[in-house]
Amino acid sequence: MKVKVGIMSFAHLHADSYAHCLKANPNAELVGIADHDSARAQAKAREFETQAFDSYESLLASDIQAVIICSENARHAPLVQMAAASGKHILCEKPLMTKLDDGKAMLAAAQGAGVQLFTAFPCRFSPAFQQMMRLIHAGAIGELLALRGTNRGSNPGGWFNDPELAGGGAMMDHTVHVADLMRRLTGHEIVEVYAETGNNMFHGAFDDTAMLTMTLQNGVFATLDSSWSRPKTFPTWGDVTLAAIGTRGVVEMDMFAQYLVYYDDRAGRVKQLFWGDHIDYLMVDEFLRVVAGAERQALATGEDGYRAAAVAIAGYESVKRREPVPVQA
């Protein structure tokens, strides 16, 4: 039995990847797409050979079991609440929310409706990360002391540069993946955040440069560079790196360092062509299996999404106050 899924909004570019994952998965049926931009819904429905619904309501009224939500960040909350009220299981794009109250409302809505809410954190599915976790849990580097992460990218533009819709700039966009990896790796919450931001890359009214320092419950400290600092000529979209420093050694992960270097004369550029595992596919696949009744393994919950987004929210508070601030639970 195929799991019937709908996609709510293609505002976030990751919707395209998830749609491909659904189309490629033998256990999935992409029933349809709804979008507040109806022209986009039509175009994407044609591209993915599925139906365009004229409203979120009509999509939710269909016989789908689950939705993937890829709206602008600030619009996650109303869509999650709608989907929950219709009894659909949900995979929501990150960051889960831009405001703590929105996050709480989303978690409550899912719980109240008895549906499962998940956050799209595909990095958890990276074999490099999973191996790093195994090594550290097996004591390979002794006691864990510190973590150093990066998740750099380039400015996606559009609504990502509208702090109202995006909830911030680079720090809101790129903090949550690695913050989530740090939580998952250690099993501890991030309790305090200090952050510095800047806008020297794009000189806009949003942060394009962000550096967070975090303290975990167990005393481990960490930094995370979530800047949109990759130049236009950078050979790939960005990076996800995480280094763990322990009493006996160091593990360094460069999640996407599985690539061919392609010197493309026709494009006049050098590119990195990734050949590693498709982590979006692995994540969507687990989502489908969980919706069908299997037990959750690596898939991030709504609570995980909330905790990671709360780190970015605390980061903005820290920038305002110029001091470390506690992360709100």
């Binding site: 020297n200 794009f202 000189h203 550096m211 400290f221 930094t223 990759r230 000529t233 950078f234 470390p324």
Partner: protein, 326 residues
């Protein structure tokens, strides 16, 4: 002949000695170390005279080169400056800001040539990057990351392990990067740091430092004495029209891999970056030429002071958990 005296005959003392020996117009007239046997061994190896006292050394040299452990810089720098000598002093300028101030004031009063030995400025990769950034190659700088370190340094009497003497990984190690950043990006507004320095871990120290510059750029410096993978440095300067990066682990000009134990043991790899001139030579050559011509050294005593001030602010942040405004 420019007559030089070296004080402190450990790792750096030997490094500096090698550099002077390559200068035909320089003579290392005498050397001094409070550890008599070490001094004798050094003197024998290099055929130089061991000075009987500091005064003996001052009497016979125009240039005093200080290579003692950090907490013992000021006690030699001050009398040497007082005696009107040209002084080159290993980084960090001194262990405390008070000692740094004394040195700055003494240099100002006596108007003697003085240079803190921030040798990184003479490493071609860092020097080239500095000039490229200054010439606008990456546009307005937005983000800078720097990393330095390897395993814990072992020295005579293990003084690096004593925070009171070395200042730990922040004051001793990443001061190189902090000086480069001040030189290249200008003044720092705020610093925030975390470190293992105060955890009482034996032979482990690590720090992650965030800097906010007056020009709006954000910096990140990692310093490690926790990495058994060998000494590695890297940096990345991102601006609004480009990015520069260097990684000593990736850009390796020469690498030799050999089997230990006469070919039966495990393999050992040693990377190298061969060059005709070594940065310590270039640094000391610059200072000697300044002494000879009366030019001002390109690294000033104030630069030495500012680097220590920034490092101590980072340490204060790591200790108090607060962001420190400069």
């Amino acid at each position: 002949m420019t007559k030089v005296g070296i004080i402190g005959l450990g790792t750096m003392g030997a490094q500096h000695m090698d550099a002077y020996r390559a200068m035909p117009d320089v003579e290392v007239t005498a050397v001094y170390d409070h550890h008599a046997e070490r001094a004798q061994a050094f003197a024998q190896k290099y055929s130089v005279r061991v000075a009987e006292s500091l005064n003996d050394l001052l009497d016979h040299c125009e240039v005093i080169d200080i290579c003692t452990p950090t907490y013992r810089h000021a006690e030699y720098a001050l009398p040497a400056i007082e005696a009107g000598k040209a002084v080159v002093c290993e980084k960090p300028l001194a262990r405390t800001l008070e000692d740094c101030e004394r040195i700055v004031n003494a240099v100002k009063q006596r108007n003697t040539p003085f240079m803190p030995a921030h040798v990184l400025r003479f490493f071609p990769e860092y020097r080239t990057a500095h000039h490229l950034v200054q010439s606008g190659a990456v546009g307005t700088v937005a983000a800078v990351r720097m990393r330095r370190g390897g395993d814990f340094p072992r020295a005579k009497s293990d003084w690096y392990a004593d925070f009171g003497k070395s200042g730990g990984v922040i004051l001793d190690l990443i001061i190189h990067d902090l000086d480069w950043l001040l030189w290249t990006l200008g003044a720092v507004e705020r610093v925030y740091a975390k470190a293992l320095t105060f955890r009482n871990l034996t032979h482990l120290d690590y720090t992650l430092v965030t800097l906010k510059f007056k020009n709006g750029a954000v910096g990140h410096v990692e310093g490690t004495w926790c990495d058994p993978g060998g000494f590695k440095v890297n940096f990345e300067v991102c601006g609004d029209s480009g990015m520069l990066e260097y990684d000593s682990a990736r850009q390796v000009a020469l690498q030799i891999a050999t089997r230990a134990d006469g070919g039966t043991g495990g393999g050992v790899q040693v990377p190298e970056s061969p060059a005709t001139q070594n940065p310590y030579y270039l640094e000391l050559r610059h200072f000697i030429e300044c002494v000879q011509t009366g030019q001002t050294p390109e690294i000033t005593v104030e630069d030495g002071y500012n680097a220590v001030r920034l490092a101590l602010a980072a340490i204060e942040s790591a200790q108090t958990g607060r962001a420190i405004a400069l």
